[in-house]
Symmetry: C2
Subunit: 575 residues, 2 copies
């Protein structure tokens, strides 16, 4: 008799597992159920449908040959034996190996028996408990129905949107609204930083400035008190601890949590914070039940602890592995494994793209590592090549071992920063990279695409210099603070950029800001007062570093603002 | 007494070693000599100066702050003790530890003593022995003087250029001439393929088509017999074994060889084909003599054999390591190492960029591996996202172990293909990646930058299917051959693309070309004749693969053209 496979959830993981299994082993009998109306869609595309960059919602449901992936597509083209939508799993009976399901339209219940079961129920939006939650035009962004509602409202004259939370999706929706629909948008969030578990405060500032330049307002460190409705029962205002924000549409995008209740009830091992526990074969604590995607707790290969990382790309990769394993394994190599993740991501915004992999400084410290996080700026392509952009890269490194734990970046050329972050992701996923390995990493070079000493390698070199103690660096926000407190902290600021005429800023702060270009620095060292604290700055940090070394050779001490004026500019900080 | 360091060669490696050493250990006494007029320039930028994309030649010699790196820059700003240009090393005396030098203008000889010596003499153009070599306007592209000459000729009305050889530089110059100057250009080369040691015949076809679309003529498999001169002693024609090519400028770009004679004469161990031998610390067989850059034989980490890989990026990375080591090592970690290379490169052409890492099929076979090389096509970004390009990726894999030995690619978005190739480069440099590791490689995902199942992962999946034997694929050029021989080989061609109306090509070849879309394939299987050989094709290979599996399930056999019509289009092949 054919092996019976039941798959719960048919968005990314479930459909991938079903089709892969069927291709490898056509003799299996596969039933795919989902509680939604739509299956197999690209949820990460919703912000681009809302913005209208993706014109038709069916594009998110279609193959690259424009065939819509509805149940009929799966039964005929993919030859999946049975596909049921609007069908909810309400109980897993592991002893008798069936799942009790309920048709959401008719209420009809049915027992679906399995030999192997796949759980791909994904995640759902975390909802706050706030007065006015049920007003009209307060939506989540959990599925195509939500995306459709928001897009229709954009088309019919939305005036102000407020987004609660600042997830990737939240930011992408805000950018689309600002860029394409010209609808004012306010992002309201509790944490002071953007993507606090993913980037540093330096890169968070860059994200904020990027959004500000798109016309998006970001409100941080405020609690939502109430959504206020108008006479029609639709939302018209968001009341926070400090503001009243006009909004005729509110999107709740505070992140997601795994839909793990059904698995818990069935006695499968779960991590209460992260989701259903699985082994390397993506089997739950019951070897006949597999799980993947947003539903599971996944091992972080750097911290070696479980985490929740809801990403469509992981669901797809895991779906294929589950598909292989329920088909009986790869015909040549047997069961396949998914050892874990390092946490790699990217997001296009308005002027730039931000990306990262591994741990940021905060997460590394939380995991018990003694780290430094070093940011730097360099052009993404040869400096003599006409097209180029300043790229920010930040390296998180364990001080004692020089092991790299993460890298984050921001650049106007999104693919350029993706190239560097993905390269680091491979080093983190398949090794334990050191700063030296980053310095000699053999990324490809040609002037239209990279520098001979590429920004990727330079990030390693800069971090190496700093960890070695060759020069003391301060972060851009620390420079801001030193400058703001200049009247009391006895600091003066030496600008080492080339320049003949006095810089505008020197005229404004003649007692604090001095220009001593690298080229004439050595001969002018003695003009730098001995009784002052000294901070250097230049365009990107390189020239100031060279001055710092010369200064040190003369027995003097100073600090260098890493990333220089370029980091200031990206953070929207004017001097 | 200060440690005396002498560095021969001051283009990339030498200057990097000198400045790094001085920054780490200001007490060293460094002398830097070079036989040229210009030092520390970005040689890889020459094609872009010739094209005029880089306006001023000084841009190739300047820092990113626009300061020209001349000898004075190195002595004052970088505090190198002595810099001598137009100074040639003519003998290394290892016993007495000096180098005999000769001033190329005055003939004056001088002994320069060293404690540590660095060899960075680089490489020189391989010159053919052809009648007419000394005619006017027959140049190499070995330095800025050559670039200046060619650029001036472009400005003053060059009519036709012929380039002998098809190195990166040759191709880049040809593209610049075609795109910017609108000067007809002919590339003449011996080998049938473009970059024969780097790419497959499939990708070679894509390069040829890319150049053809820029208006560049490529002549392959021909010997140069003679350069013919005009009445002024300038070249006017190139005579090959089959053609006479008009050319009032000829560039010899047949590759380079290491300038290793001086090292050989000094008794340093050399590899006759690849250059000076070094250990992991970049020391030659004499531990007081270091060498790097184009001069050295470098270990290929995949074949574990020595190779010659002349690249500015390697020279820069190696220069820093030599600088560290001659300074006495990194203050915290000691001597630094450069274990070898995998061979990573990229080149922007007219419509697309080609890039690669590791071995191509031919080189892998030469190195004794039993391999398959599998090409595929997929979009570089989410298929529903408006901006996107078809990317070609080719995976070279050892059949038995599924170990990946190389990857090459071509895409209109150069940074997109660089991102994937660099990711593979990291896997190859720091591991021994398998197909499974490629399938689960955690590259970053967001629809404007990648697919959920990214082209990088899909390349692993496709290769996995093929190595496992799930379907038989043929390369695009094999499909061409089957189609060309259709009247005798009993093949028919099933096009599985979606389509209601008969395709144009069916009307042309009604007896050979049939359209059976994937969507209706199963129900029409029995209409496919049993007495014919069958080849499938679709847009990119995916739909045809699914049909292949359905066909197989019915006990039938067919082959699938990998990369489909997209690979045909990129190769300039019309059906």
């Amino acid at each position: 008799m054919a092996k019976k496979i039941l798959i719960i959830g048919a968005v990314a993981l479930g459909t991938k597992a079903a089709t892969r299994c069927k291709r490898l082993n056509p003799d299996t009998e596969i039933t795919l159920i989902d509680q939604g109306q739509f299956i197999s869609y690209g949820g990460c595309g919703m912000p681009f449908y809302i913005s209208s960059e993706v014109d038709n919602i069916n594009a998110l449901r279609a193959t690259s040959a424009n065939v819509v992936r509805d149940p009929k597509f799966f039964t005929t083209v993919k030859e999946i034996d049975c596909v049921k939508i609007r069908t909810k799993a309400i109980e897993i009976n592991r002893q008798e190996k069936y799942v009790l399901t309920e048709n959401m339209d008719t209420g009809e219940k049915e027992k679906l028996f399995y030999d192997d079961l796949v759980l791909g129920m994904g995640s759902r939006a975390i909802l706050p408990n706030i007065k006015g939650m049920n007003l009209g035009n307060v939506t989540t962004i959990a599925g195509l129905e939500d995306a459709e509602k928001i897009r229709k409202h954009c088309e019919s004259g939305m005036k102000h949107m407020a987004i609660i939370g600042a997830s990737f999706t939240a930011i992408e929706i805000a950018v689309g609204l600002a860029e394409i629909w010209n609808i004012p948008c306010t992002l309201i969030k509790r944490s002071p930083r953007m993507l606090p578990n993913l980037v540093s405060s330096t890169i968070s500032d860059m994200i904020k400035n990027d959004l500000r330049e798109a016309g998006i307002k970001v409100i941080s460190e405020e609690d939502i008190l109430e959504f206020v409705g108008d006479e029609n029962g639709n939302v018209c205002e968001v009341v926070t601890s400090k503001h009243r924000v006009k909004a005729d549409h509110v999107v709740l995008a505070m992140g997601v949590k795994a839909n793990s209740e059904l698995a818990e009830q069935a006695g499968l091992k779960c991590n209460p914070k992260c989701g259903v526990c699985v082994n390397e074969y993506l089997q739950t604590s019951d070897p006949h039940i597999y799980a993947g995607g947003d539903l599971i707790a996944i091992k972080n290969l750097i911290t070696e602890k479980e985490m929740h990382l809801p990403m469509g790309s992981l669901a797809n990769r895991q779906g294929r592995i589950i598909g292989t394993n329920i088909a009986g394994g790869n015909p040549q190599t047997g069961m396949e494994t998914f050892p874990g993740v390092v946490g790699t991501w990217c997001m296009k915004m308005h002027k730039g793209t931000v990306a990262g992999t591994g741990l940021n400084e905060d997460m590394a410290k939380k995991a018990g590592f003694d780290v430094m996080s070093i940011n730097m700026e360099q052009l993404d392509k040869a400096h003599f090549y006409p097209e180029k952009n300043m790229m920010s890269l930040e390296v998180v490194v364990e001080k004692k071992t020089r092991r790299i734990l993460g890298m984050q970046g921001y650049c106007a050329d999104g693919m350029a920063v993706k190239a560097r972050i993905d390269s680091m992701a491979m080093m983190l996923q398949f090794g334990k990279p050191t700063l030296h390995e980053l310095s000699i990493a053999e990324v490809s070079y040609s002037p239209p695409l990279a520098s001979a000493m590429d920004v990727f390698n330079t990030a390693g070199n800069v971090a190496d210099n700093i960890v070695t103690g060759l020069g003391e660096f301060i972060k851009p926000e620390e420079f801001d603070k030193l400058f703001a407190e200049r009247e009391t902290n006895n600091y003066i600021f030496i600008d080492t950029r080339a320049g003949q005429a006095p810089l505008e800023i020197q005229k404004r702060y003649p007692d604090y800001w001095f220009n001593i270009p690298l080229e004439t620095f050595s001969e002018r060292i003695d003009t730098i007062p001995q009784d002052k604290n000294i901070a250097f700055i230049c365009n990107s940090g390189t020239r100031a570093y060279e001055c710092l070394l010369k200064f040190k050779k003369h027995g003097r001490h100073a600090v260098n603002s890493s990333g220089g004026m370029q980091a200031m500019k990206k953070r929207g900080k004017k001097y």
